[in-house]
Symmetry: C2
Subunit: 352 residues, 2 copies
């Protein structure tokens, strides 16, 4: 947050939810301080933020620091199951967690279009704080810029996170090994299809909700069952297919999926059938791909299925020695094998 | 950076500087990987980024971790003395440095308008890397989103940084004390007026350049002279006046400036006279306000003046006991005293 001293700063012009964001709210002056105090500080209240410096000093719980960043431009900003605020916090919490780190701190940078509704901004701040509380992270620093009407689309939020690896983990995209088991924590494509439905692009209504959620608690359960976990990654933009291709390339292995084991929500399957999408390429915001040694895989599966965010977890495939080029393959229901490529081009723009 | 494995990933469609950014470059699929490899990885090349995970693991040099974030929406994106890329890296390096920390790592999040010039994006990436090299930081993680034409203005960049406090410093906005000396590292308002000139809003031409620069090396020199430094802060949006008001509020002190000691470039003064601006409120991007105990202040001044970014450093005032409400005062050239308020409203939108 820009320097702010809350205890001694009084709001000369209180902000109401009926107000609109004006250019002056990004000036760094009195109006900015007002906005920060009335909207952000109100929600993100914590002692580190309240220090009121341009930086935040954070105690480290280990010398293995992990960071990650994400920009969020989802359209619409409110959708069934979440909003851009929940997405922004969960997205960064999840990226940090994929290393085995405990996420602790998040920074937020808002780019707001002049004229944006103050009430919606308050709703988003509320939603960010709810997600931060669920994930056990603190929002420790931030920044607000305002651009002229028509120069941005409502609000964009960039987040960065900090976490600490406190155990002896070595978990990253390069660790997948021949014989490992690939586990997906739940159904594919819920987020992408829910956002599409919110844009009225489906041509029919659905009760489907986005799966957007912080995955750190689920991941802790999995790591207790599998301390030798090799890879964890969240299949966001580009979906499960693209994420597995990245891992295959990084680890120089083949990944072989079993089509009939892939968990897909009935509504997502129906929407995909109609639209000609493959759920393997549709974005998720509350799912994790785990790649673990075979002897720990059943433990992971049980741990996931016992967690509220992992009820539909399934083993979906195996890691094998690479052919010439590392690739993702799928054994289809009718017994064939096909190559599963990385997403090319843009299937669904502004999905996150 | 989204997961990328460079050694095994080949660009199916090489990117040329004559290309435009398309929606697919933000998809997370093949086109995104292409963009990241051709543009960002080309410039930001370092082993941590090359790991290709959604997170970056960073060795910590102390358990006092410092973070900060900033969004950049400057218009125009190229201006005399710098561009949005240099601004984005320097801004975060500077915020981190104000704590006494050594900045080490930066994350970058791009929000790009469809149709943006690939050549300009490459120029910006180059400029970011140049600034990172100067500051001694590594760009360790990033994200790229693309929005439809007309939904953003060319490119916005949010950065976050990580640094470590390696000495026994306690430097923040609450530490200013009665009797302390206020030192400014150089002339006021250069950045704001240079950007205004680049927008052709001055009505006359000027050779003025923005002062945008990483301040960490200058700060190290100052800290060697003043290990008991109390406050450091960069007077960006809102200028010196707003920043000093923040510090006065945080530390519950008065700050008394001497008008005749305030360093202002002749061209900035001329532009401000014509436009009716006060240089005290115009943004800087390469200046630091130091507040140090009196006995260390001469050492700070000498150290600054010996540095390329501190040639015009000057003692500009003193910290005094507060009256009822903490405030910033100025003794004018003609012997009067006036209150210097915080900036209210927006003087210059999109200055950073």
């Amino acid at each position: 947050m820009d320097s702010i001293s809350f205890e001694n700063f009084t709001c000369p012009i209180p902000i109401s939810k009926n107000d609109k964001v004006v250019i002056g709210h990004g000036s760094g002056g009195t109006l900015s301080h007002n906005l920060i105090k009335t909207v952000f500080y109100q929600h993100f209240d914590n002692p580190i933020l309240a220090e009121g410096n341009d930086f935040a000093e954070l105690p480290a719980s280990s010398k293995r620091v992990v960071t990650a960043t994400d920009g969020h431009v989802v359209d619409p900003i409110f959708f069934p199951g979440g909003d851009i605020g929940r997405l922004a916090i969960a997205g960064t919490v999840n990226d940090i967690s994929m290393s085995g780190a405990i996420p602790r701190y998040v920074t937020v940078s808002f780019i707001i279009e002049e004229g944006f509704s103050m009430q919606e901004l308050m709703q988003i701040a509320h939603s960010m704080q709810e997600c931060a509380r669920e994930a056990g992270v603190q929002i420790v620093a931030g920044d607000t810029k305002v651009v002229e009407k028509g120069k941005a689309d409502k609000v964009f939020i960039a987040t960065a996170g900090i976490g600490f690896i406190e155990k002896d983990f070595l978990i990253n995209g390069r660790q997948a090994k021949d014989g490992d088991v690939v586990i997906l924590s739940g159904t594919m494509g819920d987020h992408g299809i829910a956002v599409l439905a919110a844009r009225n692009e489906l041509g029919f209504t659905t009760k489907l909700e986005s799966d957007v959620a912080p995955m750190n608690d689920l991941i802790q359960s999995a790591l207790e069952a599998a301390p030798n976990m090799h890879v964890m990654r969240d299949p966001t933009r580009g979906g499960v297919a693209t994420t597995l291709n990245e891992i295959a390339l990084q680890s120089h292995v083949n990944i072989v999926l079993e089509e009939e084991l892939l968990p897909v929500n009935r509504q997502v399957r129906a929407a995909c059938d109609i639209l000609g999408f493959d759920p393997l390429y549709v974005a998720n915001e509350g799912k994790v791909i785990f790649i673990s040694p075979e002897n720990e895989s059943q433990g992971v599966l049980k741990a996931l299925q016992a967690h509220k965010y992992g009820k539909n977890a399934a083993i979906i495939g195996r890691v094998e020695k690479p052919t010439n080029t590392p690739m993702v393959l799928m054994r289809t229901k009718i017994g064939g094998t096909r190559i599963v490529d990385m997403l090319s081009g843009a299937m669904l723009p502004r999905i996150c």
